[in-house]
């Protein structure tokens, strides 16, 4: 099997080491998501088309002329990422649930948190792919250079926080009757700090503010990431327990 | 001088504020009693069934 080859190649550590087992399980979940997505491409296509549509709608709604662009670009980008991210999180968990894959994963003799981190890393990769495509498209459409190291760092930190909470909450949301509408309602009030900090930090880097002025926002992002990864790590067990 | 000329008359806002407080509390308490009563009725009916079996 292809998956086994990859596991063997990427993890040469001793099979009994618990940490190596953990990472092998984690990587197996990530690889499963990526290869499934590579075959169907439905999730990424939906996220991408949706993201581009959101940007297009913002263009009409906000009259993004040269002056408006400078101040609202950060906001437009993050709203786009958040909406596209919700779409991806919901879909990625819903397919697990519908095809009974989640139950299969839970039966596997691996640490539950490996499943969580596997799903989270998979979701993060999908979000990065969307961001990597949206950024140049936005740059070209609105003639603004978005490839700045600071901005990329903010996008990295912001996406991690968003996905850390989002993966945990989407696992809860897909098990509810009202799952299609539930995820954004559960997620958005909790990621308010990420959104504020990410928008302000991105805006700061786009306006070439001094590092010191953006620093506070980066701190909030880092603290949020650490706290919520730790919480999700602790509570994932309770969310998938049968 | 206990009452300065500058003290604005904001009694309307005060009444509105407390009207909201009492209104919302009343609505909540009413819903509370209704739910409690309904549960009691359900319990009575179910107990009758339970004994009847």
């Amino acid at each position: 099997m292809k998956r086994n080859d990859v596991k063997r190649n990427s993890q040469p550590a001793t099979p009994n080491s618990p940490l190596a087992n953990f990472f092998r399980a984690l990587w197996a979940v990530v690889w499963k998501d990526l290869s499934a997505e590579w075959r169907s491409r439905e999730l990424l296509t939906a996220m991408l088309v949706f993201a581009l549509l959101v940007i297009l709608i913002f263009n009409f709604a906000l009259e993004l002329d040269a002056r408006a662009r400078a101040s609202v670009t950060a906001g437009v980008l993050w709203v786009t990422f958040a909406f596209a991210g919700t779409l991806g999180l919901n879909r990625s968990m819903a397919t697990e649930k519908d095809r009974g894959c989640l139950d299969g994963l839970l039966l596997a003799p691996v640490d539950r948190s490996a499943i969580y981190f596997g799903k989270a890393v998979g979701n993060l990769i999908f979000m990065f792919v969307v961001e990597v495509i949206v950024l140049p498209v936005y740059s070209v459409l609105y003639n603004i250079n978005l490839f700045r190291p600071g901005l990329l760092l903010v996008i990295l930190l912001g996406s991690i926080g968003y996905v850390a909470v989002g993966t945990l909450l989407s696992t809860m949301a897909v098990q509810a009757r009202t799952r299609d509408i539930l995820l954004p309602i559960l997620l958005f009030p909790l990621v308010v700090p990420v959104m504020i900090a990410a928008v302000k930090a991105s805006g700061g880097f786009l306006q070439n503010l001094a590092w010191a002025e953006v620093n506070a926002w980066l701190n909030i992002l880092v603290v949020y990431d650490i706290i919520f990864i730790a919480i999700a790590f602790m509570f994932f067990d309770y969310v998938v327990e049968e | 001088m206990l009452f300065q000329q500058a003290t604005p008359d904001t009694a309307g806002y005060m009444i509105a504020g407390y009207a909201v407080l009492f209104g919302v509390l009343l609505v909540y308490l009413t819903s509370f009693f209704v739910r409690f009563k309904k549960l009691r009725q359900d319990l009575d009916i179910l107990e009758e069934f339970d004994v009847g079996d």
Binding site: T178, P189, E241 | A11, Y13, G17, Y28, E47
Partner: protein
Amino acid sequence: MQSKPRFLTILDSVTAILFVIAVAMVFFYAPLERTMGQVQKVFYFHVATAWVGMLGFLVAAVVGILYLLKNDCKYDIAGIAAIEISLVFFFIAIIMGSIWARPVWNTWWTWDPRLTTATIVELIYAAYMMLRQGIEDPDRRARFGAVYSILGFLSVPLTFISIRLLRTIHPVVVGDSDPGAEGSFSMTDPMKATFFFSLFTFSVLFVDLFWHRLRMGKLAVVVEELRMKVSA
């Protein structure tokens, strides 16, 4: 379980008496604040309801942890009870604050850190109620509720800090940049007495309501079990 405990009946009467006294103190004992006028009297119950709201959300987070540790359904009943009551009180606090702000800050609403955080908190717990409504299995509902109430409570400080940072970097356009400066006042002794008495009254009111809500929750569990038994 069926008969009402005697102490609860006593607590009901005490709460009612305290509440009447608190209202009387607010309207007849507390002096008129000079720069704001009568509307300042909203402040006493506004702070008291907000305090009870935060207290309930804290209680819910604590019993959420206890539920996950002990897996006992009484903690779940306590969690939903606390959040339901707190949602009502927090809603009252936000509306009363808004009414107070109209004459004092000259606007119904500013995006001040406290106001904004309060609204987000209200939305978090509204989401909590929706999450519970969407799940039929009682055990799963309790677990998810516990996890979300802990998650929600922990996000509040970060939300507050980030909004506060946002506002200090970009001052509020309407009104003073520091809302604490405008509409703040020094309390005289009768004001302090009224203020602390209101806080105390609402704390007792919370305990009383919480107790009633717990009994209702337990009754609901009994009814549900009986329903299963009868229909089986």
